[in-house]
Symmetry: C2
Subunit: 192 residues, 2 copies
């Protein structure tokens, strides 16, 4: 098949990041050793330092890249929407898809943000602030009577709702997508 898109095999860095995400999600950053991460990708211990400057750097790259990805996705979806209502639906859909596709990353992001090195934490916090801002302005565009603090609190509540994914795998993915999106959409429309 001449034109088959052959997806490039994952580089070692990517393998390590994926394995570390899974481990961090299960045991927490401080609960996982460098040896555990190495073992999870078939190398052992300090070989990790051929690919990352430190253990903190693994977490740093993990969280910055997902924050950037989330923000970029949100911005592009809002840009493509034709009215505020569709923007909200698009944002919800984006967050739901992302959370269902990357439960480990979602878990780590909200659990181990405090374990980032200072510089990384500032970067991630800034990206997250901008992500929240996209939601807040979108919500307020569609419901101008909602105050900004309320919109911000509502956005966080929606993240909590949608990111609850890792704690429940009882439905298949399609049904879960529909259920979370419907609940989130209804919750937004409850705002006064």
């Amino acid at each position: 098949m001449p034109f088959a898109e052959q997806t490039a095999p994952p580089t070692r860095r990517e393998q390590i990041l994926a394995a570390a995400a899974e481990l961090f999600a299960r045991h927490g950053f401080h609960g996982v050793g460098i040896n555990d991460i190495g073992a999870a990708v078939g190398i052992s211990g300090p070989a990790l330092y051929r690919h990352f400057r430190s253990k903190d750097a693994v977490l740093g790259e993990m969280l910055t890249s997902i924050s950037e990805l989330l923000l970029a996705g949100a911005q592009s979806r809002v840009r493509d929407a034709v009215d505020p209502e569709e923007s909200i639906r698009a944002l919800i859909g984006w967050q739901v898809d992302f959370a269902l596709a990357n439960p480990a990353l979602i878990t780590v992001q909200e659990r181990d943000l405090g374990n980032l090195a200072d510089a990384d934490r500032q970067r991630v916090r800034a990206l997250q602030r901008r992500y929240v801002e996209v939601w807040v302005t979108t919500i307020r565009r569609s419901r101008p009577e909602v105050g900004e603090p309320a919109a911000r609190a509502a956005a966080h509540a929606l993240f909590g709702l949608i990111n609850s994914t890792p704690h429940s795998a009882h439905l298949d993915r399609g049904q879960m997508t529909d259920l979370l999106a419907a609940m989130a959409y209804a919750a937004v429309h409850s705002l006064t």
Copy 2:
């Protein structure tokens, strides 16, 4: 004043549990040392072992007691409700009040469950299962057309929504209570 209800001063154990909850919430179980906990209550280091068998025991008692408290509160509120609809409102109110009153405990429970000693983890898991079950049966009583797996997923989503509290302190408590309850209630009613 003869009949003044003098609230008993907190015992050392309680002080330690409260301080540890705050620290665990901020830095994670493994990110907090025995010395940090001691310092937070004005004693230093190993004095902790006069009150707890181990550091794990601190987390264990913390999470079992809140799980029991949550379950008992939910059961009593459902018992006092006259119809399924009111039961749901009561459960939502209970969880919202609890989350707003104990943000640190909420954070620790969903973050450090995996760091419990095996026996404690089993106990806490069992209590949490029963708590979820109260929600699931209540939801299904009020909306019989919702399947059990969907109800379970919805319950987890509602917990995520309501427990988002620690991540946003932008509203005063009364407004936050109303906002979360309204969003949760609307989300439940979106279930098919």
